[in-house]
């Protein structure tokens, strides 16, 4: 099992930056300069800002890539090419989309509630980024290993229905309002099974910290089955995956938009950059929720057979871990995109039935079974 010395020494991204600066040998001189002015806190703030900046730039680039990937995957399934003109195989298409959306007129409907209408896109976009803070991308590649990481993630995700309701209400449009009400009903009914199946994981690890959840999944059983929680919690995994696709608001659960019924759902009235923020938030959500699925059930950044690596290549482990994390996350994302191309949308009452009458009882059952098996000592 590789968690290694470097892991305990460097718990998060801040320390990693400090470590790198020390390694190059410029941390002490810089620190001395700041200390001589009595501003040592300023250096810490700068490092934190740099750290968060790196994360957000990474997320935004990922989101742009995801919009391209979605189009390409959909095109592949539908026997088309997808974007091909801007850049190699259309890779620059998201940039062009961004340019186009910035150039659009930013329309606020005459009878809309201006403040709420303007606030809503920010309120949905910022939590979509904040949710990444306790997500470990690799050993020490984490902004902050909160000891209530999982709780934080679920709590932050719960903000987006409020933003959607604000957008739908402030637009003063019946379609927007219906889309918003649907989104809220859906979010409430799917956060519960989502949280319940996550709690089963917490029972197994005894910790809400994402890093500890990932560490608990490293290594193998019998030398060939990776110790991922998907094998201990198959039902929990399925419930969590379905609930997270509902959380992402994607087909077959895309009721907040359901464009053939409600035109564009809660963001019918939005245009220009505000529309783009909803769009980006949606894809940031897709990435974060997939990353959470990977963290909880697919071993996060842990690579099962890493101990076969020759000792001299141990330096590569962080890079391999990051790669493993991204590959697993993109597998889940691909699954979500594939699902979108294959199945139609459910009806709102069928969706709520599925949530309340099937998934919540199953999630409770899963939790109970986990607790009993845990007490009986099966998982030890």
């Amino acid at each position: 099992m590789w968690t290694g010395d470097i892991m305990t020494e460097i718990p998060n991204g801040y320390e990693l930056i400090v470590f790198i600066l020390k390694f190059i040998g410029i941390y002490e001189p810089i620190n001395n300069v700041f200390e001589s002015f009595g501003l040592e806190y300023l250096l810490r703030i700068i490092i934190v800002v740099v750290e968060i900046g790196v994360l957000f730039v990474f997320i935004l680039l990922t989101v742009m890539f995801l919009t391209w990937m979605e189009r390409k995957v959909v095109a592949m399934v539908q026997a088309r090419y997808g974007p091909m003109v801007t850049g190699p195989r259309g890779l620059l298409q998201p940039v062009m989309d961004g340019v186009k959306l910035i150039g659009k007129e930013d329309i606020i409907p005459a009878k809309a509630d201006r403040w709420v209408f303007t606030l809503a896109p920010f309120l949905i976009f910022i939590p979509a980024l904040l949710v990444f803070i306790p997500l470990p991308f690799g050993p020490s590649l984490i902004i902050s290993d909160l000891n209530v990481g999982l709780l934080y993630i679920i709590a932050i995700s719960a903000i987006s229905p409020i933003a959607i309701l604000m957008a739908g209400w402030a637009s003063n449009n019946k379609y927007s309002l219906m889309g918003a009400i649907r989104a809220v009903a859906q979010d409430i009914s799917y956060t519960i099974p989502l949280a319940l199946s996550a709690i089963a994981i917490v029972l197994l690890t005894g910790s809400l910290s994402t890093v500890e959840i990932v560490t608990a999944q490293s290594g193998t059983w019998f030398g060939f089955i990776p110790k991922w929680f998907i094998f201990l919690q198959p039902l929990g995994f399925i419930l969590f995956l379905i609930a997270s696709i509902a959380e992402m608001g994607r087909i077959p659960f895309d009721f907040q938009e359901s464009e053939s019924e409600l035109v564009a759902g809660f963001f019918t009235e939005y245009s220009g950059m505000k529309f783009a923020m909803f769009f980006l938030a949606e894809y940031a959500h897709l990435f974060s929720v997939s990353a959470i699925v990977v963290t909880l059930f697919l071993g996060g950044w842990s690579v099962p057979f890493i101990n076969f690596l020759p000792a001299g290549l141990a330096v590569l482990v962080p890079i391999i871990s990051l790669g493993a994390f991204l590959i697993k996350t993109y597998a889940i994302i691909f699954f979500a995109m594939w699902l979108r191309d294959t199945v139609p949308r459910m009806r709102i009452d069928q969706l709520l039935n599925l949530g309340w009458k099937i998934m919540i009882p199953l999630a409770l059952l899963n939790l109970l079974a986990t607790a009993i098996l845990l007490t009986a000592g099966v998982f030890k």
Binding site: Q78, K174, M346
Partner: protein, 382 residues
């Protein structure tokens, strides 16, 4: 539980009203209390135009009724004119007509099923469907130069003969299509969510369906064995072997399945047409000065006289168009122009049942039910 009533104006500009249909919806939350379709946004006065144009000039206007399937429209009007004037049509021309109409039936059902699935949120089917539709449209283009508005079927025959290279390409299309229909079924039929959305939704029993004037696949989905190709045979349909596809459930799913089955039957018909196509180059009758013309790019073309005057009289002639019974009531007063043209369009009659079909259902069911009755607004408004 009662809540405040919500009034929604769905359309005429809406992603899934197939053009410019408008529904006035009185909603109780997500439930539809009352649905009133409003039509007329695409009204072009086609029937009145019919009185002002000569018989030949009016044929292009019929293309624009149900623009998804224009060949049957052409044929329905031409058949009325032929019955009026008593024109005998050569066998080869009839074969070509049936060939075009059955091809058109296939692509009509592709578009219908594809847009239904797109309204339900699964966009893949329409893309797959349009790939095959493109092949069919290329065949049409070879035949008459147009892809959607053909103006191809003329009184006494067809405008031009089948060009070289058409038949091999058609055979290729038929072979390809067989595999594709299996693909569609794999994509859609076994899908649990699709069944949830379609089964027991928009149910109408046979009696009501008949009373609403339903025809075509929509009626056959309610268990009424009614197909004009079989029970009031015209053209060469009596010589062809095909069965009428009927389902008894009367729900959205049954109507969808009927369309799927009809595509297969149309393929079966097309294969017979290809096998039995008469070899003679006679594609138009010699009466009324309609004469074959040789030496044109496609070998044989047809000359039509500018002055075409059927005797005074009236006729109602109907065919089984892909969407249902398409009838033309033509009154002639012995001049070059019809005295009256009345069009009985299947989409209009089928649309009338929507209010009772969706009452009490959810807004998502309205989309599904509306998709399965397969309405083209050009056909509704005329």
């Amino acid at each position: 539980m009662e809540s405040d009533e919500l009034f929604i104006n769905m359309g005429p500009v809406h992603p899934s009203t197939h053009g410019v249909a408008r529904f006035k919806l009185r909603m109780d939350g997500e439930n539809i209390k009352e649905c009133t379709p409003v039509i007329g946004y695409l009204h072009r006065g086609t029937e009145k135009i019919g009185e002002m144009k000569t018989y030949l000039q009016f044929i292009p206007y019929t293309d624009r009724l149900d623009y998804i399937s224009a060949f049957p429209n052409n044929y329905a009007f031409v058949k009325a004119v032929e019955e009026l004037a008593g024109i005998e049509v050569p066998l080869r021309a009839e074969y070509i007509r049936v060939l075009t109409m059955e091809l058109n039936r296939i692509i009509n059902h592709i578009v219908s099923i594809g847009s239904l699935l797109m309204d339900l949120g699964a966009a893949t089917m329409i893309m797959w469907g349009f790939r095959e539709r493109e092949n069919a449209l290329q065949l049409f283009e070879m035949l008459c130069g147009a892809r959607m508005t053909f103006n191809y079927i003329k009184p006494g025959g067809v405008r031009e003969d089948i060009p070289d290279g058409f038949m091999p390409k058609l055979n290729e299309f038929l072979k390809d299509m067989e595999k594709r229909i299996d693909d569609y079924e794999q994509l859609i039929n076994g899908n649990e969510i699709f069944h949830m959305r379609m089964k027991n939704i928009g149910v109408i029993n046979a009696k009501d369906a008949v009373n609403y004037g339903w025809t075509g696949p929509t009626l056959r989905g309610s268990g009424v064995d009614y197909d004009l190709r079989k029970y009031e045979p015209y053209s060469i349909y009596p010589d062809l072997d095909f069965k009428v596809c009927v389902r008894n459930e009367g729900d959205s799913y049954a109507r969808f399945i009927v369309r799927m089955d009809e595509m297969k039957e149309s393929l079966h018909i097309l294969r017979q047409v290809v096998d039995n196509m008469p070899a003679s180059k006679e594609i138009s009758s010699a009466e009324y000065g309609i004469a074959p013309m040789t030496g044109t790019p496609t070998g044989v073309s047809t000359y039509f006289p500018r002055i075409f005057t059927p005797p005074a009289g009236e006729v109602y002639s109907r065919i089984e168009a892909p969407k249902g019974e398409l009838g033309f009531y033509v009154v002639s007063d012995g001049t070059t122009k019809p005295y009256r043209v009345k069009i009985r369009s299947p989409s209009f009659c089928n649309l009338t049942a929507i209010p009772s079909l969706v009452k009490g259902l959810k807004i998502g069911d309205l989309i599904a039910a509306f998709g399965t009755i397969d309405v083209v607004l050009g056909d509704v408004d005329r």
